[in-house]
Every structure is written in C-alpha cells, then in structure tokens.
C-alpha cells in the first residue's frame, strides 16, 4: 500500500502545468514518475513512516493541496506496486481513493477487464476477448503456453504475472515530459491541401517553439489525421471516435528546429496522398524528448542553415517579448489562424 497513482484533471493543452504539480508530489517523496500528459506515480514508502499516515490518508492530503494551491482536482489510486496503483486509478474518482488490498490482490484483479492492466492496449485486449479471456481472473487461470501462443512469449509471461497480481514494476523518478502534442481542428470537413499544409506548418512551428522553450529536442514526429468518416462508409454503431490515420517518422537527428519539423510533417502528409478524405483535424506529436544540450547537430558548409537557425532564435526572443503572433511564417500571417487549437 505504498505507491500512489495520481491523475490530475487538467484540461488538454495545459500539460505545461504538470511540472508544478509534480513539484507538489515531490514535497512528499522524491520518488515521483511523471505520466504525461496529466498523471504521475509516487512511491510513498518512506513518506508513510515520515508523516505517520497511511497512503490513503496521504492521498487525501495531496488532493486537498492540489485543489488549494492550483485549483486542480485529482483522482488517486493506491496499491502495493505501480501496476496495481494504476489499475486502482481506473476505479477512483476525485474524492474516492481506490486502494488495492495487499493481501487480496488476486481477488481484486479477478473480475477486472484485461485492458485495465497498463501495457495491454486495444489490440491485445481484443485478441484476448476473442478467446474468452476477457477478465484478468480468466487470464490467470489459462495455461501459460496458451497465453504465449496468443500474444507472444514475453508479453504472455508478463501479462500472466500481472494478472496474478505479481507487480515487478518500480517507480523511476524522472521529471521529463516525454512527448508534446498539438492539434489543429477544422470547422468543416476540410479537403483543401493548401489549408492542410498551413495547419501543419502552424502546428510544427508551435511544437518547435514549445520544445525550444523547455530546451528539449525530439527524435520522432508523429502525424495523426482525423477524419469525419467516409462519405458513404458505414459508421460504427457506437458513433464513437472518428477514424484516423497515424504516421511516424524518426528524424535524421534529434531537433527542435521548426523548419526540420515542418519538412518531416509535410513529408508524412504528402505520403498519404489524400484527395477526398474529409479531414476534421491534424495533430502533431513530438516524441523521444531529450535535453537539447545532449543533442548532436550535423554542421554543413551551407551558410543558409546556420542563418535560419539564428533567425529562429531571434524570432523566439521576439515572440517571448511581444506575444506568439509577433513573428510567424508569411503563409500563416496571410489568413488568420487556419484552424483553432482545440482547447486554447
């Protein structure tokens, strides 16, 4: 009963507030692992003794402080290990902390759906569901060899361990946000490639400047195109999330340079060859963030590259001083913002 999993109720696009909230957790324990965009794991093993309170009581304290100081509510799950804490979080609400009892872990897990376990994604869950292994109890009861035949040797072994309540995970302290995302939504079903590219440019610019602001570089860029569904396709009965396409590209070198990011984004977009697809939104995600000063940069004899980077630096400073719309690429200035950021 020593690990807490906290999820702050942050509106999307406010992930920048996460570091401060992590700071709040660090007042209790130094072992805090960020789960971007809005969560964190905290190991309270030492804290329980230090504060003389149980983890569940500490959870209430954390919630009160987050509310008082930042006006942010949170839901908290508690358990003997990080995996169990995360499972518990699924059943927690703000104000109701869900705790996994240390001595009845298997019983707690038995009737939970397999997808509750971190690391089991939609695809794995569907596979297991198809074979009638829809709860963790059934997974634990299935022969290991069968499980491994279903989802692979390593995944099978790990899943079976997790389903039996064996949690080998540890909280690894780090304060790094590992990815950044921005999205451009369109008011209507947008088919115009010009507008798509403009949205991509603006998104890449934003990602670039946000990366540079926190002095990070990214290794991978991911483009997600969300569609309104096909004009004559059969929408799913749930009418749930719209269909989408995702493409990833690993950059030649880790970078935060907007021009490089834009080029990569355009490349992915062109490869889709979209014509009649009804695009509702474009999202860019920068992944594999590492500190900028660890990144290497291939120098060239071409002076243009050097100049562009210098201009970018100046533009960043101008933006810092006069607001985000002070300096921007000409295409974006031409028409007012080609789509609003979703939640800002």
């Amino acid at each position: 009963m020593t690990i807490l999993c906290v999820r702050f109720q942050l509106p999307p696009m406010y992930e920048a507030a996460l570091p401060e909230l992590l700071g709040l957790l660090e007042e209790f324990t130094p072992v805090v692992e960020a789960l971007p965009p809005d969560g964190a794991l905290a190991d309270l093993r030492g804290a329980e003794r230090y504060f003389g309170r149980g983890a569940v009581e500490l959870a209430s304290v954390i919630r009160v402080r987050a509310l008082a100081r930042y006006g942010v509510d949170c839901a908290i799950g508690a358990g003997p290990g990080p995996m169990l804490a995360r499972v518990a979080l699924r059943h927690a609400r703000p104000g109701v902390t869900c705790a996994v009892p240390e001595d009845a872990v298997a019983g707690f897990l038995a009737d939970k759906p397999v997808a509750a376990v971190p690391g089991v994604g939609a695809a794995t869950a569907r596979t297991l569901d198809d074979y009638g292994l829809d709860t963790l109890g059934r997974v634990a009861a299935a022969p290991l060899s069968t499980l491994q035949r279903l989802i692979g040797a390593k995944a099978g072994r790990e899943l079976r361990e997790k389903a039996s309540g064996i949690d080998r995970g540890r909280v690894v302290p780090n304060a790094v946000s590992r990815s950044l995302v921005t999205e451009r939504a369109f008011g209507i079903d947008e088919l115009d490639p010009g507008r798509h590219r403009r949205a991509l440019l603006s998104a890449a610019e934003e990602i670039g400047s946000r990366l540079r602001a926190v002095e990070k570089v990214c290794r991978t860029l991911t483009l997600t195109v969300r569609y309104a569904g096909l004009p004559h396709s059969r929408p799913r009965s749930s009418g749930g999330t719209p269909t989408s396409t995702t493409r990833s590209r690993t950059l030649r070198e880790p970078t935060a340079h907007s021009a490089d990011l834009t080029r990569a984004a355009y490349g992915m977009y062109e490869a889709l060859g979209l014509q009649r697809a009804r695009v509702r939104a474009l999202a860019l995600r920068a992944e594999g963030l590492t500190p900028a000063d660890h990144a290497s940069h291939q120098l060239t004899f071409d002076p243009v590259d050097e100049k562009v980077r210098r201009v970018e630096e100046v533009a960043d400073r101008a933006r810092a001083k006069f607001g985000p719309r002070a300096v921007m690429p000409g295409t974006l200035a031409l028409v007012r913002a080609p789509g609003r950021p979703t939640a800002a």
């Binding site: 997808a115 309104a228 009649r276 009804r278």
Partner: protein, 1173 residues
C-alpha cells in the same frame, strides 16, 4: 422584342446535377412565354418522354438533346496520382462536355440514341470516343465546358481555333458556339469575359454563336440545391469558401435573356443592338431542331419482333398463331368441346383486329425457351384470362373452367398494349434474360431501367454529407425516419410519434442542422441513380437502337434502355415482364432436394388438386412461408375464411387487397360464407356472375359481367366502362348511361339503383380474377409442399428466402412443425440448405443448415468447402478448403468445426496459428491429441449464451434453440403469456406478451388512420399485435426501434383461429433484461413505472372493449365515428377512388428492418459479463 429559347437545359435526370423535374421545366417555360425548350440532360435521354408529354401539356415545343463528355481528338496524358490512404480519389470530371441537339426528325433522334449508346459502351464514366462522333441530323453546341471553350477561358484563341478544326470537319454548318453569362468574375465558365470572347471568336471564325443559360433549375433561388447535388456527385462536402453555384442558372424569361445578350455583345465590343442578332441566331437554331414527339420518337406506334423470329417461318404471324392455338386445343384435349373452339376463334379475331399475333408468338417463344432450360415458369396477370395464352402454354390455369374473361385482358374496344407477365425462378432470372437476348439479339432486346429517386433517408445522408455533418449523426437521423417522401421530412418531424425525440432535438438546437431540412425537401423525388428494372424486358424489331439509347447495367452488363416502364409504354415498345419469384426458386430447390434424397420425382404442376392434407394446413392458418398467404393479415383472413378448395384460395387472395379491405367486402363475404347472413342478389339475372362469391362483388370480371348483363353492351365495352369507374368525372357520365341502358332493357328503377350502388362502390376496388387464379396456383403448390415435404420446403425457403419474415422465424416455425434442425458442420453441410435423414423408423427428415448463410462467406468459398468434404482433421480442412481466417473463425464459433475435437475457442487459437504459419511459410505441426483430434489448449469454452450470440451474429438465426428460451425465467416472473397459451385467452383479457419482433407494418387501412401491426415470435408461436393511434405516442418509438419487445395489450378474438393483441404499452425487453440482471426486480419495477408504460389505464379500462367493438370483425378498425379533431385530417391522402389513406401509412417503418436480422442489434440483448471497457 424577340423571344428566346433555352437550348441547354438539364432536368433531374442529369444525375446529381439538375435540380428540377422535366415537368416543372416545361411548365415554367410556358409560364414565361417561351415557345420552345430543349432538354439536354447529361449522358442521358431518360427524361425525354416525360418532357415531351409535359411539353405537349404546357403548349411548348420540345427540343431533344444530350450533354456528353467527349474524348478529345488527341488524347491527354495525365500524371498518375498517388493512391490516397483514405477517402478515395477525386471524381474525375475533367473530360470536356459538348451539347448535341437532334435536328432532322427521326434521323436526329436516332443519332442522339446512337451517341448516348456509344458514350456508355466503354463502361465506367460515360465518355463519347472521338470516333463515335457523327454529324447525322445533329446540331452541336460548343459551350464553356468544351475543349474550345476551355482554350478561350485560358486566353488562348489560337489554340481554340486549332481545336475548332476537327469539329468543323465533322459538323460543318451545324456547329454553334455557346455563350453563357452567370455573372461570375474572372474568365472561367459563366464569366462575362468568356461569354464575350466566345461571341467575338465566333464572329472571327465564321461560326454562328448562340446564347444559353446552361439551366440547372427552373426557378431562381435553387443555387444551394445545386451545391448539394454537386457535392453529392463529386463525393466531397460543400466548401463555403470555394466556388459555389452562381444562382443564375434558372429558366430566365426572354427580356432577362435579352439583357444578358446586351451585356455580352457590348463586352465583346459590338453595338448593343447586335444582341438581337444573337437572340435571333439562338431562335433560328431552335427552329432548326425539329423533332416531332409522335412521328419521330415513335410515341403511339407499336413494334413487334419480326415474324420469322418467333417461329412463323414464311407464314404470317396470325396464321402461325392460329395453327399453334389449334394444336394446343388438341394437345390439351379440348378438341371435342364446342365452347372452347368458339372462344378460341373469338380471341383470335380480337388479336387479328389489333395485329398483335406476333406478340403472343413472342411470349410463347420466350416461355418455351425458359421451359426448355428447366426453369419453372408461370404466367400471371390478366393474360391468364386468355384461352389462346393457355393453349400456347403460357398460362397454366384453364380460363374457361375458372370463368376468366378475355375482355379483361384484351378487347376490340381496348386500345392500350396488353401485357403478359411471366414468373420465373428468381435465382435464374438473369439466365432467362440472357436466353431472350440470345434468341432475339441485342439489337432487339434491352432491359428496362428504373430511376431510383431521393426519398427522405438518402436525401438526409447526401445533404448531411454535403454540409459536413458528423457521419454518425447523419446515420442516426436518417435511420430514425421511416421510408417516406423527402418533401414530407418536416411534416413527419412534427407529426410522427416515433420521431418525437428527434423533433425535440431539432427544436432545441435548430441552428446545428442549418438548412438541412429545407435542402432535404428540395431533393424530393430527384433521380439519384438508374437501376435495372427488376422485371421488364423490351422486345422490338431491329430498329430498337434507333429509338432508345441502350446502356450496359452496372452489375450484369446486360443492355438496358434508359427509359423506364412508363416511357417504354408511351414509346410503343413491347415490354414483357419477366419477374424473378423467389418462391418459384424455393419450390424448385425443395423438389430437387426430395429427388436427391429419396429419388422421388415431384411434378408440382401436376400435384393432385384438392388435397385434404394441404387444405387442413391452410385452414390451421399456420401458413408461414406459403406464397401470398403468410402475412399476419392473411393468416388471420385464412383462419376466418377456412378455404376448402382452389376457388376459396382465389377468393382469399383477391379479398386481401387494399381495395376489398377498404370497401369492407371481407365481412359480408365471411358472414355469407358461413351462413350467418343470407346471400342476396340485386336481381335474379345477376345470380350467375355473383353466385361463386355469395353475392359479394370481389372480381373485376364480375363487374364486367354485371354491366354487360344490365346494359347488354358486350363485355369489351363493359371493361372499358369498368376502367372509367375509377375516375370521378367519367363516373358521372357512366351512371347516366348505365341507368338509361338498363331501363331500356326493362329493369326497374330500384334494381338499377341497387346495382349501380354495387358497381359504384366496388367497381374500382375489386381484383382481377385472372391475377388471383395465377397467384393461387403457386399458393396451393407451396402449401402442398409444406404439408407433405416440410423439411425440403424449409430447405427451399431458407435457401431462397422468399418471404416477409426473417429467416430465424422460419427456423422457429420448422422447429414447431417437428423438423429437426441440424447444426452447421463443414463435413456435412452443403452450399444450400439440405434435407437429411435423421431416423429410419419412423422416417424423420431433418434440415441441415447451409454454408451460404455464414456471414461473409463467398460463393466460391462455400463451394470449395462443400467440394472438399469430408475432412479428417482441422489441418486437413484448413489446407484443402482454404477458408479465409475470419470465415474459419466464424465457422468455429457456430460449431461447424466441432467434429475436429477441442472446444470452440481452442479451435480458434489453432486456426490463428495455422493462419500465421501459412503466412510465414513455416507450416508447423499442430499439437495433436489422440490421433486426428485437435489438442485442447485450456481456453474457456463459449458459454451457452455466447454460442447463441455467435449463431445470431454469424448465421442471423438462433440455430440451436430459440433465443427467447434464455429469458423464460424472467418472463415467468413478469407473468408473460406465451403465444401457445394465448390461444386459450378470453376475448378482452389484458395480457402481457413478449418476443422477438418478426415484422412491422403500417399498411393503409380503411379508416384512414395509421395502425402499426407487428408480429412477435416467442418460440412457442407468433403473436400478432396492433397498435392504434392513441397508443402511438407511448409505443411507436419503442416498437420501431427495439428488437425484443414486451407488450401489454388486450386480446381480440374474432374466430377460433383468429386472434390478435391490441397493444397499449411497449417496453424494450432487452433493456429490461439488462436491468433485471444489474438492478434486480426493483429496477425493473422502476422502469415499468416510468414513462414508457405511463398511459396505463386505457388498456385494461374501458378503452379495450370499446376498441374491440370498433375494430369490427375484419381485424381492421372501422371508422371511429366522431373521433376527436384529428391533426392529421388535413394531410390525409385522398385517392381518386375516394378511399382515404393516412399519409404515413404503407411505409417501410423506421429503424432497422426486422428481416435484416439481429446481427447489428446483438449486443442489445446479450452482453458478455465483465468485458473490456
């Protein structure tokens, strides 16, 4: 002041382009003082006949033309674009378009037909190859969309001059350059600059210019509709920032067009009065295009295939027909009967009078060919009344014996084309078409088209997509509507109880829907596609292709005329209706199955008439699956009528028609039949025609006889009179005429008055006895099969699925009749449903389910599996039958692979690994246990509920047991009465019934009210429900949109075998089962106390008995006397017969079709415990 003629006008037949109907265009042209109007639809002449008729009515001279995409003389090379990962490629509309107008009468019309045929010949998007160009009697307009116009728009007059050369070579003086000004800016189509350039270029090149308005809609303000059509055609949403329709493309009047001409010529640098010359040129062109609808299109003349093609040899068709008829007399053994010879000669006279002999020979030829192919064929329709047809082997029933009249079919007085319909096996219909084409050649045969028009659901989908609405939401809105006309969308929202929820949403957040409703209504009845008519085949002489454009059908590649049924009749083309009837296929399959397993050959056409076993079955009203008598209403009627012979079946079928039901013929007939009311005739002379039906007029033939007897005018004239009865105006004249003639024959005034009452009341409602006799033959045959070979009968039914009910209901019926249902098994099941011996003594035949019913199986896969039987192991099956992975999984789920050992989930796992192994090329050995059995993998097997769910999902049938069995316990708690026990229920008792919905209808009924009829199946039988309009507010939504229903209602009993439940409250049973599961009985109680059943008392209180009294004995409510003022009253559709129909009656109701099966509704009633999410 010169007039104006629009040379380029498209109607709605230009699919997803034109926004007005041809009739509207003609009407507007006349109103705006124009003398001539051209119809130049895109790629089609389909609107031409309607247009010609409308123009004749409006006093406008019609011009015919077509707008075609034309391949340029030199082909264009285009870069191939990358294939999109999503959404598909743009619709290619880059081909230049040119308008062709017919000039020289029939030659011009034939030229148009040839052009359209040539443009469609290539398959894909219609495109006229350059080689297909010809200058035969045509005028050609090169407008802004042509290659020349595009060069001008691009500012390249030099290139335009170059492109003009090949056009001039072909069309010479018949070439025109067309200027269009729609007030657009720039130099593109519709801009003033392009129009001016066109006029200038024409002057320079010495080609005559004309002015047009490229009309897309009749009235101003329809621009947004055109935008929606554009979006639907291009499959993209409307881009409000892009180029929208200018709103100018309406049918402008002459002064406005003069203004346009003035602007154009001034912009071209001429003086303002040159505008008159431009208009004169336009009018002169219109004057040149002279095509007479009667003379040149051939409206009003008849063309039969040449006599030598139909077996006449060198004789005339009439001689050949006479000798064949005589031969038939001898063959059928009528040689010694004088009456038959007389009738034959009389009929031959009539045929000779009209010169229709070739027609009869043609039909006989087709029927002979079809029989030779071993396909079941039967004639239907009034043609069955002709003895000659019977003698030629076209009609099965003997018309003399059944008292059918030739005059109902054809008489000297009748001037319209007769039509004979033949029914063939539906599964082999296309074979029949190919045989006909093979016999007469493609130059004489074409199928008939059928425009599919926008109704509300499609209109919502297309408009919603054009307006960028969320697809899931569009889908939901569209599905919540019944299948009504698009123009009634808003009225339906206001009035229909099942749309109440949606209407509330619309009221609350109207702005979210924007102009949706307005645009939906604007699309009403516009054609959105052209399909092959399900039965019409054109037969003509070799000139067919000069009179109709022929295009290949999209699926089958059969030649299809662009004209629809009515057009074809107007054009004097001979149409033969070849209907594919599923019941014929089903019976053929049943007979084949019996022969396969027992060697017994059944000749259905020769089964003994009057078989007591068969009539016992019919009288029991358990006629599910029997042709024509399986609907809830028919089962009820059969139960009360208690047919004892063939004639009773004929009457039964005739009575169950909207007309007789509306005219209240049913009750007097039943009363008289069972001796509860005396049989009365207006006059003893009329006893003969009315005897067979106890004095009630049921058949058209009886009206003909009555009129003929009373007035002595002869039956041919009497039939003409009968046709006149449906028209209120001519009815008045007939009445006077009837009274005079009858008085002259010496009938007294009272008799005349009473007879006239009968004639007037029933004259236009009755049913053609020839039709009914033709229908009753397969009815009897199918009932005979059901009585004597039930297993084979169900095998046929399930294979060809002819009925109105979902397959699972047929399965339930089979189970009730004691036919064992054998599960699907890859080692035993065939492609089609089969009969299998289950036990030797007593001999019991079972029904083995078919592979073809597995969801997503292809014909080839099913065949491969069936051909490879038997399989020794799973691996053997996998390797030899090569099923796709999802298919194999589905087979395992429903237990088709159970023979290979292991449980169904283990089998799934093995299949996945086999699939993976095959992909990797490894081919690993599977772990085997005990020889060839598959080893278990320790996965949990499917629970019984999961098995049922899999059966429903994969087969759409609950094959192992009835799905209601799972809910017995709960239903017992509720005190639900089963269908079996319901038979003992008292009249007027309030009961709860439950079951899976099998059919829902809102047929037109006598009182003009809307009644929802629904049938539930609870495993023990069927429960027929009726919901009257006082319960609609509470029930309609639930009844239409749920699959499992719990209903409270009052028992209505009208005979020993006839009962139904009048519903007063309905709940979604699936939901209640869930609630029972999660919240227990208290939750259910809370739900029942809720609003869905809130209307409470009328059911058990005085409403029930009152309703029962009103409902009359025919099961349909009588007019409800002084009903409260009905908001629907002013919307009631009054038919010309005076019979009122509720505007929402006779629609396919909202929600999912019950017949579509539960596949998509599966999760509503069953949810596996604790599944993900």
């Amino acid at each position: 002041m010169p007039g104006f003629a629009h040379l380029r006008t498209v109607s709605g037949f230009s699919l997803r382009y034109g926004a007005s109907h041809p009739e509207r265009l003609a009407e507007r042209a006349s109103e705006r003082g124009m003398d001539a109007l051209a119809l130049t639809d895109r790629d089609t002449l389909a609107g031409a006949v309607r247009f010609a008729k409308a123009c004749a009515g409006a006093g406008v001279r019609p011009l015919f033309g077509v707008d075609l995409a034309v391949a340029t003389a030199e082909p264009v090379h285009r870069d191939r674009r990358r294939t999109p990962v999503r959404g598909g490629a743009f619709v290619d509309e880059s081909a230049p378009r040119v308008t062709f107008l017919a000039r020289d009468g029939a030659r011009g019309w034939a030229g148009l037909c040839r052009l359209v045929t040539a443009a469609h010949a290539g398959g894909g998007a219609p495109l006229l190859p350059w080689a297909g160009q010809h200058g035969d009697g045509l005028v050609v307009l090169l407008g802004p969309g042509s290659d020349v116009g595009r060069a001008l728009a691009a500012g390249r007059p030099d290139r335009a001059a170059e492109l003009l050369v090949p056009w001039r070579e072909i069309h010479g003086d018949a070439l025109r350059l067309e200027a269009v000004w729609h007030g657009r800016t720039g130099t593109g189509p519709g801009s003033l600059r392009l129009a001016a350039r066109t006029v200038g270029f024409a002057a320079e090149q010495g080609v005559r210019p004309v002015l047009s308005n490229a009309v897309r809609y009749a009235d101003p303000g329809a621009g947004p509709v055109a935008d929606v059509l554009d979006a639907a055609r291009r499959l993209v949403p409307i881009d409000p920032r892009g180029e929208l329709d200018s709103g100018e493309a309406w049918l402008k009047d002459a002064p406005t067009m003069l203004g346009v001409a003035e602007r154009v010529v001034e912009a071209a640098g001429f003086r303002r009065d040159t505008a008159h010359r431009l208009l004169e040129q336009t009018l002169a062109t219109a004057a040149e295009c002279r095509v007479d609808p009667e003379g040149d299109l051939g409206i009003g003349t008849v063309h039969f295939p040449e006599a030598h093609l139909v077996g006449a040899g060198r004789r005339t068709a009439q001689r050949a027909l006479a000798s064949r008829a005589a031969e038939g007399m001898l063959r059928l053994g009528y040689g010694g009967r004088r009456a038959y010879w007389e009738r034959m000669h009389q009929e031959l006279d009539i045929i000779a009078h009209h010169g229709f002999a070739s027609y009869f020979l043609t039909v006989a030829q087709v029927v002979d060919d079809v029989r030779e192919m071993g396909i079941r064929v039967a004639a239907r329709g009034s043609g069955a009344g002709s003895l000659v047809n019977h003698l030629l082997g076209i009609a099965h029933a003997d018309p003399v014996e059944h008292g059918l009249l030739m005059e109902r079919f054809l008489s000297k007085e009748r001037v319209v084309l007769p039509d004979i319909d033949i029914d063939v096996e539906s599964a082999r219909r296309l074979e029949v078409y190919r045989a006909i084409i093979g016999r007469f050649g493609t130059e004489r045969v074409a199928t008939v088209s059928m425009p599919e028009t926008y109704r509300v659901r499609h209109a919502i989908r297309d408009v919603g997509a054009a307006l960028s609405m969320d697809p899931a939401e569009i889908d939901r809105i569209a599905k919540s509507f019944p299948h009504i006309r698009a123009r009634d969308a808003r009225a339906a929202l206001e009035e229909l109880p099942e749309l109440k929820r949606l209407a509330g949403e619309v009221r609350r957040e109207g702005e979210r829907f924007g102009r949706l409703w307005e645009l939906v209504e604007a699309l009403d009845a516009l054609p959105r596609g052209i399909a092959m008519h399900p039965c019409g085949v054109l037969l003509s002489d070799a000139s067919l292709l000069a009179r109709t454009p022929v295009v290949p059908t999209s699926g089958e590649g059969l030649p299809m005329s662009q004209f629809d049924k009515e057009d074809v009749e107007d054009l004097g083309l001979l149409k033969l209706d070849v209907l594919g009837v599923r019941m014929q296929s089903a019976m053929a399959h049943a007979v084949a199955e019996v022969e396969r397993v027992s060697g017994e050959r059944i000749d259905l056409d020769a089964v003994e008439p009057g078989d007591p076993e068969t009539y016992r079955l019919i009288r029991s009203a358990e006629t599910l699956g029997c042709f024509q008598i399986e609907s809830p209403g028919q089962r009820d009627l059969v139960g009360r009528l208690q047919p004892a012979g063939f004639h009773d079946l004929v009457v039964d079928i005739s009575l169950f028609r909207p007309g007789p039901v509306a005219a209240d013929m049913v009750r007097p007939f039943i009363e008289a039949r069972h001796g509860r009311a005396p049989v009365r005739y207006p006059h003893p002379d009329l006893e003969e025609p009315l005897k067979g039906t106890y004095g009630v007029v049921v058949f058209h033939e009886q009206i003909i006889d009555i009129v003929s007897v009373m007035t002595g005018c002869g039956r041919g004239e009497a039939d003409r009179v009968r046709r006149g009865l449906s028209d209120a105006e001519s009815q008045g004249r007939i009445r006077v005429w009837f009274a005079q003639r009858a008085a002259a024959k010496g009938y007294d005034a009272e008799t005349i008055r009473r007879t006239w009452e009968i004639v007037e009341a029933f004259g236009s409602y009755g049913f053609c006895k020839a039709h009914a006799v033709a229908f009753a033959v397969p009815t009897y045959q199918s009932a005979w099969l059901k009585a004597h070979h039930p297993a084979a009968f169900y095998a046929g039914l399930l294979t060809h699925d002819p009925g109105m009910y979902p397959k699972r209901l047929l399965l339930a019926d089979a189970r009730r009749r004691g036919v064992p249902i054998l599960p699907l098994d890859v080692n035993v099941s065939g492609v089609a449903h089969r009969v299998e011996l289950v036990s030797e003594s007593p001999v019991v035949w079972g029904l083995r389910l078919a592979l073809r019913d597995v969801h997503g199986i292809s014909e080839a896969e099913a065949r491969r599996i069936a051909d490879g039987q038997p399989y020794s192991s799973l691996v053997d099956f996998w390797e030899r039958a090569r099923p796709s992975r999802p298919l194999a999984g589905r087979l395992a789920q429903v237990g088709a692979l159970d023979a290979f050992g292991a449980n169904r989930r283990d089998l799934q796992l093995h299949l996945t690994e086999l699939h993976r192994g095959a992909r990797g090329g490894g081919g690993d050995q599977l772990p085997l246990a005990g020889g060839r059995k598959t080893a278990p993998a320790g996965l949990p097997d499917l629970t019984s509920a999961e098995r049922l769910s899999a059966e429903l999902g994969v087969l759409s049938m609950d094959a192992s047991r009835n799905l209601m069995d799972d809910h017995r316990e709960f239903l017992k708690e509720l005190g639900v009465v089963s269908a079996r026990r319901l038979r003992e229920a008292r009249h007027g008792e309030t009961v709860l019934v439950a079951g899976a919905k099998a059919a829902t209808q809102t047929p037109p009924i006598r009182s003009g009210k809307r009644v929802i009829f629904s049938t539930l199946d609870d495993g023990t039988g069927l429960v027929d429900l009726a919901f009257f309009d006082d319960s609609h507010d509470a029930c309609a939504h639930t009844v239409f949109h749920s699959w499992l229903l719990l209903v409270r209602g009052v028992v209505q009993r009208r005979g020993p075998r006839s009962l139904s439940v009048v519903g007063s409250a309905a709940w979604n049973l699936a939901e209640l089962v869930e609630v029972r599961h999660t919240e227990g009985l208290d939750g259910v109680a809370a739900r029942l106390a809720g609003p869905s059943g809130a209307d409470g008392s009328p059911a058990g209180g005085d409403g029930g008995p009152l309703r029962a009294r009103l409902a009359g004995s025919e099961g349909l409510p009588a007019p409800a006397g002084s009903a409260a003022p009905d908001p629907m009253a002013d919307r009631t559709i009054r038919l010309s017969t005076g019979y009122e129909m509720h505007p929402w009656a006779d629609l396919r109701p909202a929600g999912q079709d019950a017949a579509q099966g539960p596949a998509s509704l599966r999760k509503l009633w069953h949810q596996s415990p604790g599944s993900a999410g």
